[in-house]
Symmetry: C2
Subunit: 328 residues, 2 copies
């Protein structure tokens, strides 16, 4: 049977994207423009999920959905366009917890998610409902329906200080120097069926230009994911989020340096070389290509700054070309 | 020692009010106008508390605070004046749970309460913070910091149907015919120290014109409360919420009839006669006074419709006069 199988006809074409928040969302927009929204499945980090005020917040999932739904606030790259802040302002009158600003319409997403979780639905099922409300035609798949939390540790005087991702990222504005990261998991934090099926059958698996340690690392920490990617390494290509030693946004370079990974495209390549067969780097880092090739990685350099959908689309094309390179 | 004690000098003057929502809040406004806000302590029902969207909502507590804080929506008697509905409208776009309408500013109260509960604070401590934000100078005391829930049962075909208070009251608009009520309690649902101290030392204890079975019943179900009130019966006076066989608002008369309690001021008197020594009834029910006296209850009739603070204040005065009657 297997020998008679026509892979081209039977396996649906799908591009899987391992995804963090803002950068990945922009990349997904480009990929969607290139191959069509139905052809992509986004495997989303949930390590930065947080429960605040009793509400379950999934920032990376929401950023991707709002972006693909055309509803994202273009100025910030997160949150909804034309948002209002009635609830936060009133909460501020209480002296309540307002360091994580939740807009009024965005809050509805968290109320909806939390209620459905309490009724026993999985994050995957709920995410499906949320993306449909925003008319997003790509699949958005939380990597796990279990509990996965990225925890950052820093030294505070003599004591080790424990921060959730959002405490580090938003409350502390990623200022603390990090000494180690833990991806905490509940015993049921295995990859969902949908994620495993997608990664097993995907025509290409792209690691979006997200923070390797904070956005992709949590996904890779889920049991089974690294093995699966290693087995399918030929189809996996990463995009470096580091350009000329700096992150376009956020603390990727800083935290890589703090944890002893070179804060360069080469450091990114080192981090991914077991699970990816290629990496797309920025033209500014073209001089690193030879060093990266020593890691047995294919390399292409191009413009990786996604300041328009057209630029994202061009970057997406380069990643697919790199996956295809050497397959024939 | 006890014989030398001057009760007048040592015991602070306080009027305790056993309270449900709207009717009790209006009554408390009148009492506050009469004796001053610092002199009253409101012991609030929490049997209609509900967790929706993961948020802990305490409708009776909030109605009393918003009313005494001058922020209540005067048209509805609950919720905040000048409220907006951004979050509910957005939740409605999800097809989310919107039968219990939560305004934007009101939501901040529930976010605040839920976060503090999650941090380990008691409902009593949190209520204290909420009433201070609204500049309420009266004490607002949840009867218990444990879990107390009013559950209503009705017959649905052959099956018994279980409804939380809010499902019955708001979602079903108190239409179902009720066959029994249960006041469900967690094992730690004892009266708080603050409540016991208040009831033990109060110069008068007034049972507000709230629904006996749905608002006062839950308070009375908390272990120790009935014993304490029975012991202090001489200081306890109730106000009938039933006027000429009808409730001013809500299903009090309907549910009393369904559960075999006469839906009249006499039925109310029967319900309270072991714990109260007097009852204030509406002048429309003056003809019931003699029957009520057979229950060994003092009776006064007056106007009990609180369509102004002045009317509430006059009603409050009549209740205090009735407590005082026979004390000298």
């Amino acid at each position: 049977m297997a020998a008679n199988r026509d892979p081209c006809a039977k396996v649906p074409f799908v591009i899987a994207i391992l995804s963090g928040g803002v950068g990945a969302a922009r990349f997904a927009m480009g990929m969607s423009a290139l191959v069509g929204p139905e052809e992509i499945a986004i495997i989303s980090n949930v390590g930065d999920d947080e429960v605040l005020h009793g509400l379950h917040i999934s920032p990376d999932v929401d950023t991707v959905i709002y972006t693909l739904g055309g509803a994202i606030n273009p100025d910030t790259g997160w949150g909804l366009e034309g948002e209002t802040w009635r609830v936060m302002d009133a909460l501020s009158d209480y002296g309540g917890l307002t360091w994580f600003r939740l807009g009024d319409r965005d809050l509805a997403t968290h109320l909806f998610r939390t209620q459905l979780l309490r009724e026993g639905n999985s994050l995957t099922t709920i995410t499906e409902k949320i993306r449909k409300r925003w008319n997003v035609r790509s699949k958005i798949l939380p990597v796990t329906d279990g509990r996965l939390r990225t925890i950052l540790y820093s030294i505070d005087g003599k004591d080790e200080r424990r921060l959730s991702f959002q405490e580090y990222f938003v409350q502390q504005a990623h200022r603390p120097e990090i000494t180690r990261i833990a991806y905490e998991q509940s015993s049921d934090a295995f990859a969902t069926e949908e994620v495993l099926e997608t990664l097993n059958s995907a025509s290409a698996i792209i690691i979006a230009p997200s923070n390797p340690l904070l956005s992709i690392g949590p996904i890779l920490s889920v049991p089974g994911i690294v093995n699966l990617l290693t087995r399918r390494r030929e189809k996996v290509v990463a995009v470096s989020p580091i350009i000329a030693g700096k992150a376009v946004k956020g603390p990727a370079a800083k935290i890589m340096a703090e944890l002893g990974l070179g804060p360069t495209a080469l450091g990114v390549a080192e981090y991914y070389c077991e699970i990816a067969s290629g990496i797309v780097i920025d033209s500014a880092d073209a001089s690193l290509a030879d060093a990266i090739k020593l890691l047995e990685l294919k390399v292409t350099d191009t413009n990786t700054i996604m300041n328009s959908v057209e630029a994202s689309r061009a970057l997406a094309k380069v990643t697919l070309d790199l996956v295809a390179e050497g397959l024939y």
